[in-house]
Symmetry: C2
Subunit: 382 residues, 2 copies
Amino acid sequence: MRRAEDHPSRRAFLGAGAAVLAAGLTAGCEPGSAQPGGEAPATIAPVPPTGPHQAGIILPQEAQPNLLAVVADLADGVAVGPLLAELGAAIRTLTAGTDARLLGLPPADLTVTIGIGPRLVRMADPSLPGATDLPEFSRERIAPHARGGDLLVQVCACDPVVLPIAAAALLGQAGDRARERWRQSARRGSTVPVDQGITAPRNVFGFIDGIVGPHTTEQRQRDLWLAGPAPVAGGAIAVLRRMELDLPRFAALPVAAQEAVFGRRRDTGAPLSGGAIAADPDLGAKTPDGRYLIPADAHLRRAHPTTVGVGLMLRRSYSIDEPAPGLLFISFQNDIRTFTSTLTRMDNGDALLPFTTTTASASFLILPGFDDQRPLGATLFR
Amino acid sequence: MRRAEDHPSRRAFLGAGAAVLAAGLTAGCEPGSAQPGGEAPATIAPVPPTGPHQAGIILPQEAQPNLLAVVADLADGVAVGPLLAELGAAIRTLTAGTDARLLGLPPADLTVTIGIGPRLVRMADPSLPGATDLPEFSRERIAPHARGGDLLVQVCACDPVVLPIAAAALLGQAGDRARERWRQSARRGSTVPVDQGITAPRNVFGFIDGIVGPHTTEQRQRDLWLAGPAPVAGGAIAVLRRMELDLPRFAALPVAAQEAVFGRRRDTGAPLSGGAIAADPDLGAKTPDGRYLIPADAHLRRAHPTTVGVGLMLRRSYSIDEPAPGLLFISFQNDIRTFTSTLTRMDNGDALLPFTTTTASASFLILPGFDDQRPLGATLFR
């Protein structure tokens, strides 16, 4: 075992002067090897902001450990198209590290993901995906300001200090045109490899979260990305739900009872029906005395796409410890019913649900990717 | 430059079954090298909870990137001594990884630091250090519940998910005897080496924070640790202040104007009078045309121990992005006047102060270290 004193500056970077900043090494993410010669250590790989999809959904492949989500409303009469185009331009200068508003911090793997809420989608075209407000569900305790919203600014990075700075720059770009409703800071802890290079983090119940999902290109084409109409093709529907988790009550359960709630092993993430973490659960498997290995009310069973009869949901959730221990649930899918049908099914007897209280809820049309030829939000608003 | 796809699981650990958890590798802190043979990767060094001082003040030497501070009040009539002894015992099982309430997560470098507020100190002995409430200062906007408090539970770790779990276990231990007042989740970003193995992080203004402090053993004996009386020897006085920082207004300044506010270079942290980051500022140095290199109202000058006439203050602050971008200022010292005199001096013309609004404020007597022979809080309360 290595000891702390062997690493007096284990998250620090060597170098002097401007090179320190240029190095781009941030705490928390793959520290570069120190270069005694004063050379810049290895940097964290940047994530291109442009392309067919926005960054922050499947890129980087392993989600950064820090996230800040800000939900804002737009003022009446705001020209949405120009605002989105400006945000796209700001995302490019921020992630390129050429934006003075980043105060000299290296952006490294900063990603920004922009979504628009149902009201704005309806303004563009009420027949578009994302035009419908999320319904109310059970176990919600949501203040009016924390339900819905016009604009999602999701910022992720290895360096947690980059998040509020980048968000402030983007909100500053919007200026009086946007008014913040709520924000949530969140984190991912240790992760476990699942499959196809996908990893999943542990939540505050100690269980691995987000194992099942559209991990292959084919699955993503089918269940994640919107295929059309043209102005939204390459986008997705996002659901954000902040939920408090009843940690004292859950932690008081024996481990076997905790595992029965999830339908998975706590240590490995394997389904209680056996196999590796990524194994398909055998929902019919029973003990010799006839009980389901994955209980009838286990979360894995109730929320499984096969049970619900929907496509795969990409979950990229983050844990929170404020205002209370919990989860900032984040899912991406190309059909809002993937989420609503799953939660409806959970409402009818998922053992995990009674441990949750949802305190914020919103859905957004995540805009398609953008580039030189196609500004963010182009063709949706003119 | 390395690319993300070369590191499909860069924060993940290899292994299977229970070995995954036993490995103890957490996101964000010195990932161990993957062991293709399935062996456990290197772990993060644990921090002993016992000793002459509590952990989380100068140990680990580099503060962990994640912090959760919870401030609670005690119910009337609570037997404080037994409660503190129980908390100390819980800290030992939590940090040893033998506490089921940690839900199987490896504690790794988890530290817990316990402080008691002025009301409790006065109950023990009104003549003790820490018995006086912090006065009000300018630029405060503090809700009643966010001023003062009886009990500080400061939890720090590399793995952010460990924080709410450990805090819930400790608050659960207190049960009805404690009532939470406020909590703040906070983070440190990239750090820069300062001196003596000490590193300092950047704040949300992009400047390096916490450069000057008691970094040597001699300085710590003189200015950090309480020498007596016996029940508090080895303890310290902590000040916690949550402050919002006016990021839009600061970021709009030219870099030279930002540097004049701090009195330091933004990139290197060096004093504007020259030298390396750890160099003593030359407060008398002037330009050829007679202006101070470190302006009269620069934070470095106004808050410098030499200017204020106090001892060195150990700052171990963390950045926040919620409820707004800012700083959870945390200082440790053996005389509350080290803090109050500094802030009074800043009130009289520190250029940084107008960019701050303090929204929570409390001071605590940090209890001395504990061990088998000396339970936490022993001899203070009987």
